[in-house]
Amino acid sequence: MAPAVFAAETLNKIEEIMARYPTRRAAILPVLYLAQEEFGCVDDRALMAASKVLGVSKADVYGVATYYSMFETKPFGRNVIHLCDNLACSLLGAESLQDHLERKLEIQMGQTTTDGRFTLKNAECLGACAQAPVMLVNDDFYEGLTDAKIDEILAKYE
């Protein structure tokens, strides 16, 4: 098992981030984002590493990490699809898009493809209701989705 510490480079980044706040603890969200990136998810090692740099107990880091939807305590795919299924997107067909995605990727919501390429998740309103239905793949936004558009989009991700 890899050690429960951040790489030196990440630590530098963290120090830089911490300088933006009057307390170390305030950097917990950015540190957790980095931890999730470095360790693949917010697992025990990530918690330990984050707890150490932040000077916050592991239990508290865990409490924070599990509070927010963006952090996963279990490993996930290389690409994360957040399909919005809140009201506006639902009204315009998010339901059938979900069926399409699940069929195409052969997984259910919340699961990861066996090749680790995609993790499929529902999202609450993504703030693009006027372009509904929408999804977020990693950091990229896709609007006005149709089954065909989804096929095209997914092809872009390795």
Binding site: T23, P30, Y33, L54, L87, L91, L92, E95, C125
Partner: protein
């Protein structure tokens, strides 16, 4: 009608500081720095600018409270958490005209004496982080931000802080907790943030749209702003229009216009020529309204009188194919997911409501379930710690009120009476 907030977003390279400067950019700031902070507060007071985050609190009053607190340093927090389902107005400003927000923040900071600020940005807008950071760097490079702004004694910093996916962090005290690195749950008030805010210091939390108005007010005067739209809540609002309309989108409109105009003129009417069944006037917490309310004016009081609320002015329109039980259940699922869990009524009550709604929608409802929904709303109402729990009742109360027959039909026919189903559980 002339746009104020979105008057630059259609320009080419609208995000760049050069385009911004070429179109009146940072002129408000220059003017403000020539005034005393108190004069800036007074100008905004004259404009009667009210908060666009939902509560409609007068901006100048909040600044005045924070300015009066002797503790230093003070903080300005820009609330860019925009999590209310249906809402996407702040994003238009940040993506299309980030300097408008930055300029507004610097002026606000100057007005009440803040040195530092953070933009608390919702996690689901990852691309906006770099847009804002680029704009901040540009502003710093040109001396509109940072130490000794435009040669004055005033220094001000802005940092972007990305949230991590929790709707409740849009509530200002939860936002503060979250920024401090805790589980973002609402705080006990008093003390209020203007006295004991982030890191224990005086803090003003303002919505993106609120702040974006400020440069315009400074530039054109408070009196000019006060004359736009409704006198009680002057200015424009960016309305997010979504759902079964032909032309969904963002429309910056003066307050006081009717829903009919929004849906039929700007939104181009219901898609496929279908009939309007219901519409939600102000985000997920707002109770739905029905066609008979089409002529209600869009202002806080009129919408409240109609039994709903204007909230974040996010409208979702539903045609006659929509199952209203499913709509209620879908929105309730949102609240169950977003309840922070601190208080008993919201934590326990929302989940119970959802189970009832799911049961009815799934054709397994009992006859008493509709009454139970009403009574459960009664158990919860007025007792939650923060407004989220109260807001969670909106979708149930509206749909039960206007569509009780549809609920009953679900129970009696043991299935959804509508053929087409759009809303997934």
């Amino acid at each position: 009608m002339e746009k104020i907030l979105l008057n630059r977003v259609h320009l080419k390279n609208s995000r760049s500081i050069d385009v911004y400067l070429a179109h009146d950019g940072y002129k408000g700031l220059k003017k403000a720095l020539g005034m005393t902070p108190q004069q800036v507060v007074d100008e905004v007071k004259l404009s009667n600018l009210r908060g666009r985050g939902g509560a409609g609190f007068p901006a100048a009053m909040k600044w005045g409270f924070a300015a009066a607190d002797p503790k230093q340093p003070k903080y300005l927090l820009c609330n860019a958490d925009e999590g209310e389902p249906g809402t996407c107005k702040d994003r238009q400003i940040m993506e299309g005209d980030p300097h408008e927000l930055i300029e507004g923040m610097v002026i606000a900071g100057y007005a009440f004496g803040a040195e530092h600020s953070y933009i608390y940005l919702r996690a689901e807008y990852p691309k906006v982080v770099s847009i804002l950071e680029t704009a901040i760097a540009e502003a710093e490079a040109r001396g509109y931000l940072g130490a000794n702004i435009l040669g004055s004694d005033f220094s001000f910093s802005i940092r972007v802080h990305r949230g991590a996916g929790a709707y409740i962090c849009g509530e200002e005290t939860a936002l503060i907790e979250s920024l401090e690195g805790k589980r973002g749950q609402s705080r006990i008030k008093p003390p209020f943030p203007v006295n004991v805010g982030v890191f224990g210091l005086p803090t003003v939390v303002n919505n993106v749209e609120t702040l974006a108005n400020v440069p315009h007010i400074l530039l054109k005067g408070g009196a000019w702003f006060a004359g736009i739209g409704s006198p009680k809540c002057p200015g424009t609002r960016i309305i997010s229009l979504a759902g079964h309309v032909n032309k969904p989108g963002y429309y910056e409109l003066p307050m006081g216009i009717t829903f009919r105009e929004v849906i039929y003129e700007y939104g181009g009417g219901i898609r496929g020529g279908r009939k309007l069944k219901a519409f939600i006037p102000g985000g997920a917490s707002a109770s739905c309204l029905v066609p008979e309310h089409l002529d209600v004016q869009m202002d806080y009081d009129a919408v409240a009188a109609a039994g709903s609320m204007l909230g974040s002015s996010a409208m979702t329109v539903m045609d006659d194919t929509t199952c209203m039980v499913k709509v209620a259940a879908r929105l309730m699922r949102f609240f169950v997911h977003e309840s922070c869990g601190k208080c008993t009524p919201c934590r326990e009550g929302t989940e119970w409501l959802l189970k009832l709604l799911d049961r009815i929608e799934g054709g397994e409802g009992k006859l008493g379930d509709i009454d139970m929904l009403r009574e459960l709303c009664g158990l919860i109402s007025g007792k939650t710690f923060c407004p989220l729990g109260e807001g969670a009742l909106g979708p149930v109360q509206g749909t039960v009120k206007y569509f009780e027959d549809e609920y009953r039909a679900h129970i009696e026919q043991k299935c959804c009476p509508l053929k087409e189903r759009h809303v997934r559980q």
